[in-house]
């Protein structure tokens, strides 16, 4: 692990405790998850106990302590998507890639997440894969859409 990168991020935001969210967010975008070594380094440099940092990393949903897949699937389960049948879409994706929401496939291809509202309710039910949006989803469309990613 390149410790300079983590140092650089800490330097950018400063060592005040209030910077911790931004620091962890930047570390996550750098590594796609929060590696233990990085958190240890943050703990040491910022003089915040590692347990506190883990508390924050596990409380907030944006953080992941395990490596995530190459493709991030977000299934919107906001109310508008829910009433238009989002749960069936999520179930179908779970069946197709063989993991539950919140998990990553063994080959690190997909990570599946449920999100509470992507705010594009006109297109519901909505699925987002990486930066691509798929609106007006049906479970019948799932297979074809997933095949476009490898």
């Amino acid at each position: 692990m390149n410790t300079d990168k983590v140092d650089g991020i800490i330097k950018k935001y400063g060592k005040e405790q209030s910077a911790i969210m931004s620091i962890l967010q930047d570390i996550q975008s750098e590594y796609n998850y929060l590696p233990r070594e990085a958190l240890e380094q943050v703990s040491k440099k910022m003089s915040i106990p590692l347990s506190k940092i883990y508390g924050i990393a596990t409380f907030y949903k944006v953080f992941s302590l395990t490596p995530r897949g190459r493709h991030l699937i977000k299934v919107c389960l906001g109310t508008a998507c829910h009433v238009r049948g989002a749960p069936q879409i999520l179930e179908e994706i779970e069946r197709k890639i063989g993991i539950r929401a919140g998990e990553t496939t063994g080959d690190l291809k997909f990570t599946l997440e449920r999100v509470n509202c992507l705010g594009a309710c006109a297109l519901g039910p909505l699925v987002m894969i990486n930066n691509d949006y798929y609106g007006q989803m049906t479970s019948a469309k799932v297979d074809k859409i997933l095949k476009a990613y490898d």
């Binding site: 109310t79 009433v83 992507l118």
Partner: protein, 618 residues
């Protein structure tokens, strides 16, 4: 080179020079490109416009303006052609050359790109005649159409930061507070607390340092007006905050923004740096002795952080757990200093109140709820979108006149307002005027303004379960009533929807609801039972059929429905058999197919793919 504005005259001169530069003879093509626009493909349309303007050599005759959301999400991407006001909808890149060559060059309206009335099917050429817009009063949201959110000059051109100039040089802080009090503005984040009163308390609170915060952690599922304001008009929010900070006596502010809103974050960051460049933020704003700066904190995807004390803990770099509010945050909030927190939409109301006057503002709305409110009209509704209406408009007007009613000839069942803290309002209350008081009387609340429309195919027990599940996941776990109460409520509701419901469950649900509303630490918990209570109040028969008859009348709850094939309608095409992931459907080609109930996982795919309506759910 950006020059700092040293006084009010500089601002006035800048506005004048911006307006002078504007070529009024030019056509303006306005394309909305907020998150929903981009999701629907606005970026490709914009690229094509740029290419085509160059290609047809129209740079001198036409200006392209990319703005935030105009609110009519259903028909995105849209283009508004000014000065005529022609409204083109559901655009594709290939429509663009024709718009330039026909509409801009020859002045012809292109019929096929027009919006058709949902009732009559008649084509409507002009935006002002479209029913979705006609009944709205877009005093806040309407500015999204006028400005490129990444250009501070656009905002200044429409009178932006004039209100700030007015308060800094013509009004004492106390007078600003008095004006906001007189306007009757109440918090748009859900609570509805009078904004001016809050500012007054905070100003009077003891302490040398005070903070102002903008709550942009818009977490209610189905509500996205704050995002659209930040994306489409970030300076209006900033100007509101600066005015508020001046009134309260604060020199440091924070915007706590939801992690899922990358475009809003980008536009806000840009707006802050532009405002700093002009000296509208920072030291000696507009040459006065008032200093104020704004920092951004990105949220971490925790719903509870929309609660003020949890939000402040999160800004401090701690776990976002709320605390008991014996001591209010206006006395001891962020870093134990007096802190005034308002939501995005509240801040965006402020500049207008100052420039147009409290008297003007107080004329809009009802006796106790003044001004307009932006609602997100979503779910089973024809015209999905963001609508801004005066307080007091009835649900019927919003849902039918603006929203166009329910699609697919289905019957309206309920509207859910107020997010997970709100409730479901049934059809018999459709003439309810929408304001803070009336929604609360009906067992729901204003909340941040989500309106989720449900039709006959939605199960109200399932909806109650959905919200309890949502809150159970989002509960921070600090207090027992919320942590354990919601878990138990969820288990009971799951039991009811899975056919294990017992008569006594209803009593138990009511009891747990009371415990939550009496005993939970923060508003997330005390209001958590509202979706359950309101559905019990208005739809008791749905609970009864789940519990007594083990049936889900809407056909939603998987364990209580059976899928079967209607013999007369099935022509044996075999599509359902091929699609069925459980291999539960059998049948020979061109013969009636059968679903094996023991294998069926009720995934709904056969129902969706059948073109003959031969799959029955009951």
């Amino acid at each position: 080179m950006i020059k700092k504005l040293k006084n009010r005259t500089d601002l006035e001169n800048l506005k004048e020079s911006i307006l002078k530069k504007k070529d009024k003879k030019k056509h303006c093509i306005i394309v909305s490109s907020g998150t929903c626009g981009q999701t629907s493909g606005s970026e490709k349309v914009i690229e094509k416009f740029k290419d085509e303007i160059k290609k047809q050599d129209m740079g001198k005759q036409v200006e392209l303006k990319v703005t935030g959301c105009h609110g009519f999400c259903e028909v995105e991407p849209v283009a508004l052609i000014q000065p005529e006001g022609i409204f083109y909808q559901k655009l594709k890149a290939e429509d663009v050359p024709e718009i330039i060559s026909e509409t801009i060059v020859k002045g012809k309206v292109i019929e096929k790109l027009l919006y058709s009335d949902t009732e009559t099917g008649k084509k409507i050429p002009y935006e002002k005649d479209i029913p979705f817009y006609k009944k709205q009063s877009r005093i806040i949201f309407g500015n999204n159409v006028l400005i490129d959110p990444t250009s501070i000059d656009d905002y200044i051109g429409i009178g932006g930061y004039e209100a700030l100039g007015k308060v800094l040089f013509k009004m004492k802080p106390e007078e600003v507070i008095e004006e906001v009090k007189k306007s009757g503005l109440r918090g748009r984040g859900g609570g509805g607390f009078p904004t001016g009163k809050k500012w007054g308390f905070c100003r009077q609170a003891e302490g040398d340092v005070r903070y102002v915060i903008c709550n942009a952690d818009e977490g209610d599922p189905g509500a996205y007006m704050d995002r659209s304001l930040l994306e489409g008009n970030p300076h209006s929010v900033l100007e509101g905050m600066i005015i508020g900070a001046y009134a309260i006596g604060s020199s440091e502010g924070y915007v706590y923004i939801r992690a899922e809103y990358p475009l809003a974050l980008k536009n806000l960051e840009k707006a802050i740096s532009q405002a700093e460049g002009y000296g509208l933020l920072g030291k000696n704003i507009l040459g006065s002795d008032f200093n104020f700066r704004v920092k951004i904190t990105r949220g971490g995807g925790a719903f509870v952080c929309g609660e003020s004390t949890a939000l402040m803990a999160s800004i401090e770099g701690r776990v976002g757990e709320p605390r008991a509010k014996y001591v209010h945050t206006i006395e001891s909030g962020l870093r134990d200093k007096p802190t005034n927190l308002n939501n995005v939409e509240t801040w965006a109301n402020v500049p207008m109140i100052i420039s147009r006057g409290a008297g003007w503002y107080a004329k809009i709305g009802t006796q106790k709820s003044k001004g307009t409110k932006i609602f997100s009209l979503v779910g089973k509704i024809k015209n999905t979108g963001l609508v801004e209406v005066p307080m007091g408009m009835t649900l019927r007007e919003i849902i039918y006149d603006i929203g166009g009613g329910i699609p697919g000839g289905k019957k309206f069942k309920a509207v859910q307002t107020g997010g997970p803290s709100g409730g479901c309002i049934p059809e018999e209350l459709i003439d309810l005027p929408v304001d803070f008081e009336r929604l609360a009387e009906a067992g729901s609340m204003m909340g941040s303004g989500g309106m989720i429309i449900m039709d006959e195919d939605n199960c109200m027990v399932d909806v109650a379960k959905y919200f309890v599940d949502f809150l159970r996941e989002e509960s921070c776990g600090k207090c027992v009533p919320c942590r354990e109460g919601l878990e138990n409520m969820y288990n009971i509701l799951a039991g009811i929807t899975e056919g294990r419901g017992k008569e006594e469950d209803i009593g138990l649900l009511k009891e747990l609801s009371e415990v939550l509303s009496e005993g939970a630490l923060c508003a997330l918990g005390t209001t958590a039972a509202n979706p359950v209570m309101s559905t019990l109040r208005y739809f008791p028969e749905e609970y009864e059929s789940h519990i007594r008859d083990k049936k889900c009348p809407a056909g939603v709850c998987k364990e209580l429905v059976l899928y079967s094939i209607i013999e007369e309608k099935c022509n044996g095409c075999g599509l359902c058999r091929k699609k069925c992931p459980a291999k539960a459907i059998s049948g020979e080609p061109k013969k009636v197919h059968v679903i094996n109930q023991a294998e069926c996982i009720k995934c709904r795919q056969c129902f969706e793919v059948c073109r003959f309506g031969a799959v029955k759910i009951e």
